[in-house]
Amino acid sequence: MSSQTSVFEQANKKHASSLLRKNIRKFVNNRLAMIGLICVVVIVFTAVFAPLLTSYDPNKISLGEKNTSPCMEHLLGTDNLGRDVFARVLYGGRVSVFVSVMGALMGSLVGMVLGSMAGYFGGKLDMLLVRLSEIFQTFPEMILIMILVAILGQGVGNLVLVFCITGWMTTFRMVRNEFLALRGETYVQVCEAFGMPKAAIMFKQILPNVLSPVIVSATVNVAGFILSEASLSFLGVGVPSSVPTWGNILNAAKSVEVVSNYWWLWAVPGGVISIFVLAINFFGDGLRDVLDPKQQ
Amino acid sequence: MNNNMDYVLDVKNLSTSFISDRKEIRIVKNVSLRLRRGTTLAVVGESGCGKSVTVHSIVKLMPKNAKVSADHVIYRSAKDGKEYRLDQMEPFGTEMRKLRGAEIGMVFQDPMSSLNPVYKVGDQVAEGLIQHTGMSKAEAQKQVLDMFRKLGIPDPESRISDFPHQFSGGMKQRVVIAIAMICNPDIIIADEPTTALDVTIQAQIMELMKSLQVNDHKSIILITHNMGLVAEMADEVCVMYMGRVMEFGSLEDIFENPSHPYTQALLRSVPVLGLAEGQELGTIPGITPNPADLGPGCEFADRCPFCQDRCRQKDIPRFEVSPGHYVRCLKFDSFQEVD
């Protein structure tokens, strides 16, 4: 009897690991997704290890060598204050990636917690939260972000908060709907009958079932927030302009003079933003194919 | 082979494979079967054995990553007495479309999802009719009403303009059957028509199908894994396992004289009313292998109690153990080998 169970367990394990292997293989075979993953990893890596990759201080001003085109000394040239563009883009990536990743993570977290609660407890709480999410969704995102920035003030931390406030609704709806569907499942009722704490049922038993789409939507949000950060810089309500971020660097290069004379000042941050967003999107698509095939 | 007008459908060596992950996986292998006019042919086997793929390959309703090949797939129409080579037709070309619906009707497994949720059922049934006969909508509606009545859908005049979600499962399946029947086709292919239904409804639907066969002289291909249904419905039986026809014969051949070890195991696993005490329901040991992992030789070898080394060496030929009763097993290599 026991040997039989262990056989089954083994079979299960084998099945599970082969599923994982199959998924990994599927992902690796998706060439775009792999390229995306590699780009994201490379960009994040260079941002994190910026001090090792460049000896320049991104804020070091050297007015004597302003607007130098890319050369050996300054790989990607310098800006109008003689700051090294390569260093600025690396350090800028730290802030931009941090803000968007944290924003997406926090948004997903809030969405998951509220969604679990709404879906599990239902009733008035559910109604209230759904209404709230509808209201948030009714607002044009950009306008909501601008108002929130006006209230909270500009700053890296505040921007994360703003992204979190404006980005939880999709996750919320997804998690809530899934919870509504799963709440009636037998295994949940069994857990309840065993007297398992509600929080444990919610987060340990049900939540793992919805993690895949949540992860996918969080990746997509990261891409969106990178673009939002750039737009906010353009409108002058993003991260304070003294902090180098991709958005701020690109925004500083929007003048006609720069666009027509100093290509590296806009092409580099613009290119990095586009590549990162593209890569994240490819990566997210690949992830979706693997994790969540039915929800294309 | 010239008195073959008797066989409404004649399939020889049909193979289908899917391309996935840049690998080709053979799902249906050299399937040959013949459907006698006015009879029911049951295709049985465990789920995933390629039953559905076989019939879908015959009517060419396959996704784009499927590769279908066959020596021939011949449909012999009673209406004009012509032979049609289905294997040589474009899947969605005019010729094939003329046959689909008009000469070959199909009933699918899940009535819940087989109907388009946004159109009235009457219109959905009439659609094929209008397509094939070019009759006006009003005329078509009249025929649909008749068909609904015939299929026992109550209050057809009002139900005809209802939407699918307003129907129960059994009623939906009747609508699906109506779609298959409306052009009065020679063949009806029913792909597990009752699997998704309640047991009581199952019986009603099967009775309906049987009466269609008997009264309207339809030829039916019934795909099922339910041996009980087979016993009740079929004239001939085709037992499939892992994309292969393991045994083919008349109902008596299969039930009275099951020859292939797989057929025997399959029959043992059917619950019979009044199972004697102490008598155990047979199970087939092992699990269905992954089609991608299969080696050469008999597909059933791993689970077969009579398995010998030679079973695993090469494809097993067909042996005709009695007229019209074919078995694909080396136990019968004393009989005549037919291909």
């Binding site: 044009p140 690109l250 006609v256 | 479309r97 689909r100 008009a102 388009n116």
Partner: protein, 318 residues
């Protein structure tokens, strides 16, 4: 159907009230003094007079008083005045909302037609040329910051080539459709690119889903031509989720107009909202955001109605 519409309309009222309260409450937390914004330090005038103005505009009243006064005024049709430039808000809405809608709706229609069209074509011919080109385009459109794309468009098409006007909605001395169209091209193009991308991906995926469903098989088993399968059975079912996403995209479209209007000097509500948020012009923010929210609610209501028209399950209330 009528009761369905009525119910949906009634649901909008508490939504709007709640939104107004949240916006109003939020703005109180905003640490911006419109009077100060109005009078820059470069040009400081009499502080006493500024204080008098603050008093007169009721900026010193408590929050609740101001909220109720505001709602009362709104209900009597008095939208109030901008603190910053004194324009009557009714005027702002009257002159600017149409401009924003013009842009948004044209971009919406264009991007829907192109996006959904290409999306569906690429689903039908999966992995074909249209599919491939469409996907590349979609992914590019989604990854370029909008304002930068807009600035480049102006440089290329308005300055270098001189084909199109650089900004604005009309030119003096010109009128009619031609004038309107040349001004629309660049902003609409910029807006469409991003919007198109999303719709293309989404409608491709839904169409693929639909094409894999059983009823498509049923339809094919009837022997009807493929185009009929796609249009009649595929398209109509694929449209439902696409419409929903379209509805969710509407706020983004209006939100996107904030950036677009700044880039192209488009005299719409978006640029006013930017200005008002930056300057703390709360009466304008209140009314304009409410208007936008109402417009979006109406739009999503229209989408609901369309969905109901497309899907009997919704219409007949399952």
């Amino acid at each position: 159907m009528l009761s369905f519409i009525g119910k949906k309309l009634l649901q909008m009222i508490p939504m709007l009230l709640l939104i107004s309260f949240i916006v109003f409450g939020g703005l109180q937390l905003m640490d911006i003094d419109p009077i100060s914004y109005m009078v820059t330090p470069d040009m400081a005038a009499s502080a006493e007079n500024q204080e008098a103005l603050r008093e007169q505009l009721g900026l010193n009243d408590p929050f609740v008083v101001r909220y109720f006064n505001w709602v009362k005024d709104l209900l009597t049709g008095n939208f109030g005045y901008s603190i910053i430039n004194g324009t009557s808000i009714a005027n702002i809405v009257r002159t600017r909302l149409p401009a924003t809608f013009e842009l948004a709706i044209i971009a919406l229609i264009l991007s829907s037609v192109i996006g959904i069209g290409i999306g569906i074509l690429s689903a039908i011919r999966q992995n074909g040329i249209i599919d491939y080109v469409g996907r590349v385009f979609a992914v590019l459109g989604q990854s370029i910051p909008q304002f930068f794309f807009g600035i480049c468009m102006v440089q290329i098409f308005a300055i270098k080539l001189g084909w199109l006007p650089v900004n604005g909605r009309t030119s003096p001395g010109a009128s009619g459709l031609g004038d309107a169209i040349v001004h629309l091209v660049l902003p609409v193009l910029t807006m469409t690119v991003a919007m198109c991308a999303v719709l293309m991906r989404y409608s491709r995926n839904t169409m693929l889903d639909v094409l894999n469903s059983d009823y498509i098989k049923t339809a094919r088993s009837k022997g009807i031509p493929e185009w009929k399968v796609y249009i009649k059975h595929g398209f109509r079912n694929a449209m439902r989720p696409v419409l929903v996403i379209l509805c969710f995209r509407l706020p983004m479209l209006i939100g996107g107009s904030v950036v677009i209007e700044s880039v192209f000097g488009w005299p719409g509500i978006g640029s006013i909202i930017t200005q008002s948020v930056v300057s703390g012009d709360y009466p304008v923010i209140m009314v304009t955001t409410l208007m936008v929210a109402a417009a979006i609610l109406v739009a999503s209501f229209l989408v609901d109605v369309l969905t109901a028209a497309l899907d009997p399950r919704v219409r007949l209330g399952e």
